[in-house]
């Protein structure tokens, strides 16, 4: 299945900002995060097709995943 992964803000540094690739059935958001070596503690908002999801969310063909870092400063 084809999945598009969009990374935002500091997660783009040293990684491909937007990438569409084939993934095996059963792939989750957590798998995409692990593959890109994104520290889970740094993750804020995660969206699949513009809807808020958790790490264990399973993916389907054509999904667009967006991952934002946690911004906590004031």
């Amino acid at each position: 299945m084809q999945v598009t992964v969009k990374l935002f803000a500091s997660f783009r540094t040293g990684r491909t900002p937007v990438e569409t690739r084939d993934y095996p059935a059963g792939t989750t958001v957590a798998d995409l995060v692990a593959e890109r070596e994104i520290p889970v503690a740094e993750i804020g908002i995660m969206l699949v097709n513009c809807r808020h999801v958790q790490l264990e969310c399973g993916l389907a063909d054509g999904d667009i995943v967006a991952i934002f870092p946690l911004l906590g400063g004031g």
């Binding site: 503690a41 804020g44 870092p69």
Partner: protein, 272 residues
Amino acid sequence: MSPLKAYLTGHAVDGQVGAGCQMDASLHFDLTFAEVEAAILELGLCPARYQRNRQTISCAGQLTLLRSKVVVIGCGGLGGYIIEELARLGVGRIDAIDPDVFEEHNLNRQLLATFANQGEYKVSAAARRVAELNPAVQLVPHRTAFSAANGRELLTGATVVVDALDNMTTRLELAALCRELGLPLVHGAIAGWYGQLATQLPGEDISAFLSGPGAAGKGVETRLGNPAFTPAVVASLQAAETCKVILGQGTSPAGRMLVLNLLDMEFEEIRL
């Protein structure tokens, strides 16, 4: 017409009343500067200091701002700019909440931090600054950290609450209390070149967008830091949203979060 209103009408020039006249009226009629300002606005006149707001903020809107109370939680990078802009807007009462004193590492971005005021409480500097800017605005300093324990008392009577905190744990407590009390909350957060903005109106819940799966209290700002311009941008957006919520103008911020990337000049809207 009362003697005060006759005095103000008699001294108005082109529909405007200057600060000197407002001060004279305050002394002559034994009223506060803010009370005279309310009388000016009730007459449909404009205190001269607001003349360049022109059609953006009407006299009626200016009076609504004067009668509003905004509670700003945190007086650091975001809070300093927010307080500055709310005072210039003419929000009648601003409650500033922060337990900290200025330190050298605040100088790169915090508007109220100066070379000379290191060691001064941030809320004290905020009160002095607002007194210099606009005598119609009352800044009430609270030298304390916001918490679930004191929050209810601190938010009493608020028109709008502004989140200028620096950690997610307290942000979630603040958002929960605002939901419970039915108060609008204007959230902002920053890290490096990046920022975010969202408004939680009564009946909404933005808490899922304020934290992450790692349940960390801090975000990537611990690694990226915060430069001068990011708090200024996000704080100004928060001040604009606060003004809109108070005046009931513009497109409702409900259900939307704006994510800013100043490095790539990208602005993303997320539907909540």
